[in-house]
Symmetry: C2
Subunit: 210 residues, 2 copies
């Protein structure tokens, strides 16, 4: 664990902090598709993502979903952090997009480290900044772009995150993430196929070039 942390976080964390994380943190390995955090849940420890990807989504009262953003290696969920610090319930759901390796750090340590380690403070701040910016991107995308563009962005991001140009999702799953309907997704995908940007198959999509 230590060398992994060093590899990923060494530009942020000083050695004593790394040692503390090794000592206090608990490593977990989660297969793809698991819900690791849900709406309304209280949070007692904070995840640092060592490998894999996590998708973070929002849900309204009627169960409609919307993908907010992905977390990747070295990142952490600021929304979660905010919940920890504020001791409030989670506002979002987090699901592993790929198999993932995560260090869980107890909340109390977080506060302690904020005072103690400059590196930790910087990391936490940068995380907030990144999350805010991602959220702004999300806002842009739903406010200013039409579905065609949003779908393309979604597919691009998916390929990037999974490092696989075969997207193993059904049209229905994509529709959930974009908060639209299956029929609409099928329609637009067909259009993209005609434009030779991808090839459709049952249960997966082969992305050529977006």
């Amino acid at each position: 664990m230590e060398e992994e942390l060093l590899g990923i976080f060494s530009n942020y964390f000083e050695q004593p902090l790394i040692d503390e994380i090794v000592q206090e943190g608990k490593i977990i390995e989660v297969p793809a598709g698991e819900t690791i955090m849900d709406i309304g849940q209280y949070i007692r420890s904070m995840p640092l993502l060592l490998s894999g990807a996590i998708k973070v989504l929002r849900e309204d009262d009627e169960g409609d979903e919307l993908l907010l953003y992905y977390l990747e290696q070295g990142e952490t969920c600021s929304v979660t952090m905010a919940c920890c610090m504020g001791h409030t319930k989670s506002e979002i759901r987090a699901i592993t997009e790929t198999d993932a390796k995560i260090v869980m750090v107890p909340v109390q340590k977080m506060e302690e480290w904020m005072a103690k380690y400059k590196g930790w403070r910087n990391y936490v701040f940068d995380s907030y900044q990144n999350r805010l910016n991602e959220l702004l991107q999300t806002v842009d995308s739903i406010a200013f772009k039409n579905l065609d563009q949003r779908l393309m962005d979604y597919l691009k991001k998916k390929v990037e995150v999974t490092k696989d140009n075969r997207i193993r999702s059904t049209h229905q799953e994509i529709a959930y993430d974009l908060h639209t309907s299956r029929v609409v997704v099928s329609r637009l995908l067909k259009k993209l196929e005609k434009m030779k940007k991808l090839v459709l198959h049952r249960n997966y999509i082969h992305v050529i070039d977006l």
Copy 2:
């Protein structure tokens, strides 16, 4: 200035911090409608809002706008803070919604205080949390609600923020904030008037009950 700070922030800030803010901060009074921060601008000091309200909005490349949220007494703009800390350009525009009194704090002090004062750290964190939650609300609203509802929410919020049930805006201005067109706003407002929720006038709207 000191007693104002005490009144608003005393539950967060310890006395020595108040003293430092009084010493380092610069108070400015800004009339309604002024742009106090713009997209692409570098930021050297951070605003703490003593009184009044500030609206924060996003703009895309084509100049389309969207209201993100309002800042009210005692709040600060986390997006700005993130820019400060990351030394990047502003991603948003901030405009005074009413006359406002603001303390501007130099960025360098911020970092110093983060290490030095627990109260400052808590304040900064809570601000982040509040902003993130507001942004999530904004996402919900554009993703899950239709324009009727968004317009009503907008008017409600406006009354709350300006403490005035006469909304002194043209339909065009409302349309900008909601990122839609004037015609659509006029249409929906008329509908609300027919439902006796408000009375329309030239240049202002008298809100009855939403």
